[in-house]
Symmetry: D2
Subunit: 344 residues, 4 copies
Amino acid sequence: MIRFNNDYNRGAHPAVLEALNAANTQNYGGYGLDERCAAAAKSIQMHLNCPGAAVHFLVGGTQVNFTVIAAALRPWQSVIAADTGHIHVHETGAVEHIGHKIQALPHTDGKISAAQIKAEAELYRTSGIKEHITHPKMVYLSYPTEFGTLYSKEELTAISAVCKEYGMYLFIDGARLAYGLGSPKADITLADLAALTDAFYIGGTKCGALFGEALVLTNPALQEDFRSSIKQNGGMLAKGWLLGLQFEALFKDGLYFELGKKATAYALEFKAAFEKRGIPAYIESFTNQQFVILTAEQQAALAKDFTFEFEADLGGGKAAVRFCTAWSTSREEADKLLAAIERI
Amino acid sequence: MIRFNNDYNRGAHPAVLEALNAANTQNYGGYGLDERCAAAAKSIQMHLNCPGAAVHFLVGGTQVNFTVIAAALRPWQSVIAADTGHIHVHETGAVEHIGHKIQALPHTDGKISAAQIKAEAELYRTSGIKEHITHPKMVYLSYPTEFGTLYSKEELTAISAVCKEYGMYLFIDGARLAYGLGSPKADITLADLAALTDAFYIGGTKCGALFGEALVLTNPALQEDFRSSIKQNGGMLAKGWLLGLQFEALFKDGLYFELGKKATAYALEFKAAFEKRGIPAYIESFTNQQFVILTAEQQAALAKDFTFEFEADLGGGKAAVRFCTAWSTSREEADKLLAAIERI
Amino acid sequence: MIRFNNDYNRGAHPAVLEALNAANTQNYGGYGLDERCAAAAKSIQMHLNCPGAAVHFLVGGTQVNFTVIAAALRPWQSVIAADTGHIHVHETGAVEHIGHKIQALPHTDGKISAAQIKAEAELYRTSGIKEHITHPKMVYLSYPTEFGTLYSKEELTAISAVCKEYGMYLFIDGARLAYGLGSPKADITLADLAALTDAFYIGGTKCGALFGEALVLTNPALQEDFRSSIKQNGGMLAKGWLLGLQFEALFKDGLYFELGKKATAYALEFKAAFEKRGIPAYIESFTNQQFVILTAEQQAALAKDFTFEFEADLGGGKAAVRFCTAWSTSREEADKLLAAIERI
Amino acid sequence: MIRFNNDYNRGAHPAVLEALNAANTQNYGGYGLDERCAAAAKSIQMHLNCPGAAVHFLVGGTQVNFTVIAAALRPWQSVIAADTGHIHVHETGAVEHIGHKIQALPHTDGKISAAQIKAEAELYRTSGIKEHITHPKMVYLSYPTEFGTLYSKEELTAISAVCKEYGMYLFIDGARLAYGLGSPKADITLADLAALTDAFYIGGTKCGALFGEALVLTNPALQEDFRSSIKQNGGMLAKGWLLGLQFEALFKDGLYFELGKKATAYALEFKAAFEKRGIPAYIESFTNQQFVILTAEQQAALAKDFTFEFEADLGGGKAAVRFCTAWSTSREEADKLLAAIERI
């Protein structure tokens, strides 16, 4: 059984594991105050063109999301997100648990637009009853989105401009950032993200690390006392260097970017193969997640040798399903699925 | 200027004020443990046909809402509500502030249906990733709704059945309950509400009291330590008898019901007058709030002598506006508006 | 039975009730945006010598406390208070409920000192593990304290200086402010409070109003969006003018100060009478609360005609008990207790 | 420089690392639903003599603590802890952040007694104003304590009995459990902990794992929907098997117990060496943390080759300092410190 159901079903890239093994006989300072985290942060900062950026390493994505939001917002402030946004539908109400409302906007292919955001911000600005509603103070996007789609640089620039106009923070969830940046459709870099956002995170868990996410805070207003927020929200690893050394390994010689590129390339081969067979896309994605519509027979045929994820029942036996490649996908695994697609 | 903009722009019904004056020379026990609260609770319980119901008096509606929700739900549990629900759009994120997500469903004339609720509950029940989503454990309705519309007994019975089937609490916000029960379209009683819900509140602030709401907890599971929740959430008035005596006065000789009936009757006269003039309803309401669509000229003409509330810009100068009657509306005030409607 | 058990067992001063009755036929704007609140705020501001101060009216003390704290602090910041502080021991964990730790310091007669506060702030300032501990960002005092004692101007000035030195807010709970200012031992004014604190509230509930507290925010940093915090925390009364008109009445011709002075004077007569009989004070108080140590016989004798509050069991039948005067205490009631003290 | 400053300055025991390496080529199910977590839970359960116990794996201790508390308590309920308890002084107010008060009791050598706890519970039970105070519903202990001291089985049995009597949960923080169980003074087993508590956790981070804690929930009331609480609080690792396999390795052939025993044995050698030199203990500990009082000269002498942690300034240059052994401490490292102690 070959797993294409998600991108977090295997350990870590060998380079990450090697770094971990090599560090095991060393002593380090606790709670992220160590030379490995410092080195990893430096490696990342070299891509940002943003000397004042702060880099923090946290264990997982949900934690990054609510920790950033908890630190950034005052109690009556809310977050604008797509109604498909991870914080809205897949994090067990963690954002609300720490006290903030999410203002969910209808998505288009997993995305929201500058115009939608502006309308929401304008609604608040012109409201005569501001004290009865929440103040949208942050915009949360995912890059790539939960459907594998990408914002263009033009779209992000427009959203960033709206955020600046209305004094809102822009925060980008990059759980699968490697696969986004590795797409032929991507027209942004880490430096663009640093320039356009107030905060974003570089996903490790799904992109080659055992676990861990690198949070970049470019806006100084979000940096103050941020370690207190990490600790309070349970995200401060005692052996912080375990996070640092993983990102050090991933950012050495562009490995992170290479892994993303490779996995997305396999996914696009799947996409082409499905298209060739006339199997329709559920959502048009150019990253490592491919959503296609399969008949019951096609599902049964592929389920013999591959795992994939159910997304939505479309009636008549048809379903939208997801095939995920990952940093760990091999040429051989990809070829097996390609062959199977041809046969169904 | 005659105010029809809302139903909380005047003090209290004379009977309420009289009771307040009469009590001013008396001593009472603190924090709601007094004979006036006891008597008021008893008066209300006589209408409930529910011997085990507990009655608590709180200062305002927002507070009742989040206090009930805080006491009822565990952290990962959420509340289903219409996307027009007061807790979702007009309480500054108070429910999220105390930690819970609101799952907003699209409304129809301010209402949601048993089918919608069942679908949401079923989604959770059959979910394979329950720990990643919130657990809908309560349904919040308003009676009448924010648009003045009413659930029929049949609708409420169906919703109540779904709630029981899925182990969800049903909580009804009765901020304007008097006006709902006083409608010719209403086919429920307080006893029906007690039988069909786990909790509901009888609005005082908008229905003849200076301030105050009477919360009825019919489900014993919600009753335990509820006074601790009231105090913790700032809703425990030191001089609790001030709340009790108001509800005593309102429930003496059916005054509460009479006030609601009278105000709604005036509103229905407005409704008929607007219809007669061909002025369309924005939402078809049979309670004290009437939403109509006025041209710019009509708005200007009525604004000379009356206040009313802007609801929505419909383009081309047209707007949906709200006219509210209240317990304090007089025959004379109503007649003036009726005459004005005829003239525009 | 004459009640000296607390200072909130009667309605309101006749002047307050009169104002309430007079306003009952008027219309007002909702949610505190009305001319009565504006007038009351102006009356209060005339005493403050602080043109930039904002005045808000809330329903009760617990609510004022947690609303101010919620608005002022970021999640990892905490409040320093006496271990006898009302927020620490009598508000059902409301401050923790909205997310903040209280750092309780040992009290002396209900008070804490500038030196204690400085030590706590210095501990944080010099800590090498700031992210593992909370940041004391506010000092909460009560004036008078829960034991009826008073901070001198010198003490408050020293505390205020420490707060400024360490960037902490100073917030004073004035639930019984009238009785403090009315004490012959008081050496401060409202203007002093405005000059020395960032926020304080002028208690109405216990000092002549039916209910309501007037919050003064002198620090502009606390003023921004404060109405959102009030609404979110359930403290925004729909008929806000009910609060405004009460404070208007209390601040007309110095009534508030006069009521405090009178009640405290009666209490000091009790104090003298107890002393004369050799009945020891439990705490030396010069305001409306008197704590004395009574034998079982003395308790029984006084309990025949008077209510008073149990404070602490001191063994051997002895107990510390509290006698409270209030704005409503009459010469006749006071005389009866004085006579009874002489007889026991 | 040899580090005795803490017990989390090195990676993992070789057996743990080996297991991690071996698993790196395998695929697993996500979020803790995998065979490695199942196997690890089974290994732990074999020690518990408690068939109904649930075992969950979380990343770190702070997170375990607030996740358990969030799931167990209703909003007005509080946790009793020693005033030296980790949740009270070293977790950045995380418990208050999720809404609960900690009732801190004065410690004796880091411990609190059944009598103290009973007094606190009795205070609530007999209170006439329950709604104004928090309800102590959980007792939090650390085993060993933050000072390395141990509760005897007799003490724990007495505390457990008080908890049962008053309907309180007993929760034990076992961040350093291996070192406690490995002490010659320990008279309890994991099965005793399971029998006496409602929940406890077996520390991994400080006891041989890279990171991770194994939470044991023996009380079924705490088990329901617990995975929702983990996810909501950010404690659910996507690659949960990384936690499972570490505990599998630690519980194979009693490794966990052996590591604790060895580290504590070294610490007791230090203890004896200090005593022999007349260097007084700050706290008498029989586990891996040794707190001693050193003069300025002694500190300087030892600081040349060893790191140790400052605990408290005792005046006159003297300080209480902590020496920690760990699973990673070698015979050679221990001997070097022993030799150094002899020389100072």
